[in-house]
Symmetry: C2
């Protein structure tokens, strides 16, 4: 495996000169070679300059050329082969099968965006033809299409070293929209980042695109990240990570002379509501399945079910007992980084220290470093409502069950929740009315509502919403997973009375791209 520890600025490989980071194998706490030195302000400016210079050309590439570029990135990632799997496993502590699946998802995602680009619906072409004889005023010829916002900065996430990182959903959707991308690599998996970055760099060259279409930088979020977000040539950013980190960068983006969209996906505890009839008919089965979801990836998912909200009683007790048994049987799992492990331990301790949450069960302790021990706690609704410590996200396999005295209290807890990525109902037919009453609240709280499933596992497709009201994300109007993510990086432009020779292909009269346009208020078939 040929890792150099260099940043990728356009087609160059550049050794940084600021304090270096090295990945740690969390399963052993060993340092992994090489060291990745951070970029300087001059290197930030160089990456932004290249991106800016590439922008006008890249945003006007044909649908076919842009789609092929995305497909070429996927091909180049697959070409890396086992080296990528091996390095990502070493840097993340995640099982090999999971990383293999994530590579498939990452490449599938790039190919899905290629399909979306070719379909061209994202151009949202609207044409209101001229009406020269209209009274009292003629109408001009008006044509709208969407164009890319400009260079985009992407902050990779720790928990998906492939699917939410260098060539992940944010990068894929920004490139699909026609935006050059500068990735600020995550310090937890720099080697994986370099390998994937070199794949994108190679794809840029193969497709003969301007080199500034992609750069990869290393360095701290506070320094390099803030410098990137503050550069006037950067026009949007995507982020997946902690609430504090996301809000700090969001503030930097809003404090610029020209504020820019900053899409931060930050924190969510993904409440699950087991309704009475479902609890009665299958409480034990449900408790076990719930712990299965809780333990996936050591609970290190944005959509990990961190909260169960239900009405107290014998039925709920059955659920709790079964869940407790499953927790006790849960093996320890390696967490992503020592920092995440420490934060998890401290989060679990804050539950225990609150004096308001009772421990139901803990999972098995692990032997090595950074081992996540599953946890399950219970608290009354009133104690939950009165204690902020119980309301925060604990990133990892620990969940809190909130016992409500009755349906009214359950509704009160639901209304009190902050914005979420997901909410889940477990229900039987007899719960339909209760579900119907709860639904408006859930719609206001979350981007995705599930019935009789578990929130972990996010399908990459057209209908997915991985988003939700603040603080789940900084902008509830969008999604960061699925093809609708492309809309985050576009803006509409209207062309009035332009000669056909000057019009972009998408809105030329003869419709060379064969788009289904909205013409004079009617959709073309």
């Amino acid at each position: 495996m040929n890792l150099t520890g260099e940043m990728l600025i356009g087609q160059q490989a550049v050794k940084g000169s600021r304090s270096p980071v090295q990945a740690i194998n969390p399963a052993t706490n060993e340092l992994l070679e090489p060291a990745y030195a951070g970029g300087t302000q001059a290197e930030v400016e160089r990456a932004c300059e290249l991106a800016w210079n590439a922008f006008d050309v890249y945003r006007e590439t044909s649908l076919e050329d842009r789609a092929r570029f995305l497909e070429t990135i996927a091909d180049e990632i697959e070409v890396i082969g086992e080296d990528l799997i091996e390095r990502a496993v070493a840097e993340s502590g995640l099982p090999k099968a999971r990383i293999q699946g994530e590579r498939g998802r990452t490449c599938g995602q790039l190919r899905l965006f290629a399909k979306t680009v070719r379909a061209g619906e994202w151009l949202d072409v609207r044409i209101d033809p001229a009406m020269p004889d209209r009274q009292p005023m003629p109408r001009s010829d008006l044509r709208q299409r969407h164009i890319a916002l400009g260079p985009v900065v992407v902050f990779g996430a720790s928990n998906f070293p492939l699917a939410f990182s260098v060539a992940g959903g944010d990068t894929a959707s920004a490139l699909a929209a026609g935006c050059p991308v500068i990735v600020k690599a995550h310090a937890a998996h720099p080697g994986t980042g370099e390998l994937v970055g070199r794949a994108i760099q190679a794809a840029v060259k193969k497709c003969a695109l301007p080199e500034g279409v992609f750069s990869l930088m290393f360095g701290s979020g506070r320094e390099v990240g803030t410098a990137l977000v503050s550069d006037s040539r950067v026009k949007a950013a995507g982020f997946t990570g902690s609430r504090s980190g996301g809000l700090a960068l969001w503030k930097a983006a809003q404090s610029r002379p020209e504020p820019i969209p900053f899409y931060a996906e930050m924190s969510s505890i993904n409440p699950v509501f087991p309704l009475p009839a479902a609890l009665k008919s299958r409480g034990a089965e449900m408790g076990k399945a719930f712990v299965g979801s809780l333990n996936m990836g050591a609970g290190q998912f944005c959509t990990n079910p961190g909260l169960v909200i239900a009405v107290k009683g014998a039925e709920l007790n059955t659920f709790i007992e079964a869940a407790g048994e499953a927790v006790k049987a849960s093996g320890a799992q390696t967490m992503l980084t020592p920092g995440i492990f420490e934060a998890y331990e401290s989060g679990v301790k804050s539950f225990a220290d609150s004096g308001k949450a009772q421990e139901i069960a803990r999972g098995q302790k692990g032997d090595g470093p950074n081992q996540c021990q599953t946890g399950l706690f219970v608290a009354s609704a009133q104690d939950f409502l009165g204690n902020e410590a119980l309301q925060g996200e604990v990133f990892g396999s620990t969940s809190l069950i909130v016992e409500c005295a009755n349906t009214a209290e359950l509704t009160q807890v639901a209304e009190h929740l902050e914005g979420q990525l997901t909410v889940t109902l477990q229900m039987d037919d007899a719960d339909l009315e209760a579900a119907r009453e709860l639904l408006p609240t859930l719609e206001r709280k979350a981007g995705r509502i599930l019935v009789n499933g578990w929130p972990t596992g996010v399908e990459v497709c057209d209908a997915m919403v991985h988003g939700g009201p603040f603080p789940a994300t900084s902008d509830s109007r969008t999604t960061s997973v699925g093809t609708a993510a492309i809309f985050r990086f576009l803006r509409p432009v209207c062309y009035q009375d332009l000669p056909d020779a000057l019009l972009p292909a998408a809105i030329k009269q003869e419709n060379p791209l064969k788009l289904r346009r909205l013409v004079d208020g009617a959709r073309e078939s």
Copy 2:
């Protein structure tokens, strides 16, 4: 005319108790009865509470019911008859024909949004059906629709007392999206605001909607406006007005514990680029037409052409001479308010005082108060680039011609411009290459690009973009005029594996709303 000076909070009429404002007839400087006292914090909270209580019901009204509500508002506005025209003329100083036209535009806009609501494309329905047998993992049934964001606060503009005010574009698009609206009335036309507000209040009652769907409040932007934008139940806001006012409220919206979208349409100088061949073939004609656009509505349009950028020479001189003659012949016009008149005078003075802009001509002086005297100035490109005083918006009929030494300097000036609502090219066939070279810059700078027209006059239609990069607006991803404005007030929600009985109509399996859904990646015809 029965004006009471009351606020409208739901179905109540409430006399405010904070310092009152009275409209001024700008043509005479006479005060107009009655006085409008401002709302208190308690009244702000009452309006927000009612809006919040109305939200879940209103956002789920059927497409037909919501469309009829918008049409009923239009009907009720027309029922007011001459009283509305008379009052709006008195409060704005605008000619009667203009106000009559604006009423037509306002009602037409409401009816166009009714059509948009019925068509249902804004729901953006996407369905990825379950694939229970997929390997290695089954796919769930995933369905996406858009829902309303929540209660919206609308700040009326001074310059369109009907079309951008109480029942203007922001209100129409927010109501169309399913959001209750609280309007903070503009102090310049409170009587017009009350009349239109009562029309909406009557429509709410006729359509048997929850009363909180609409409220109208009076008071200062700094007090009542900030209080409204800061209320946790408000989820978005629309604003048209000054850059300083817009940015202050935008900051309040971003400083909330839960930041919200704040759509401010603020300032634009709408540069016009007469290209060489066009200048040569029709410089004089163009100069005259340009002044016609400059004088429309005393220049009090967001899209007023405040800047002309061209290459120096005999051809440009012909344009300047003809424009100068037209300016000299321009009659004075009453401005909207004494405050706007003062700001205009001071803006014109700052051109004169800069020592860098030469006066080409001034229009006729008026006799009465608040008379806008047209102005035309010229400056060199280097002086323009070096003087911020020359780069700001002067709201009113004054424009600055920037003379460039050559095409390279013209491009430099174009690249230096801030974000704009519009840019205009005046071109002949022989200018095609020059236009093609300039187009990428113009696309990055503006929301609408015109050829051989003038930016004043904004068509309300599907293809319109009345928006643009900062500081033209606070959010370039949208438009505040035209049917796409509805997207500002929506967010996507994904429903995973919900039983059909629990699904909203838009995404039920049998497609009762007959929408063209995106199903499994293909658009239904």
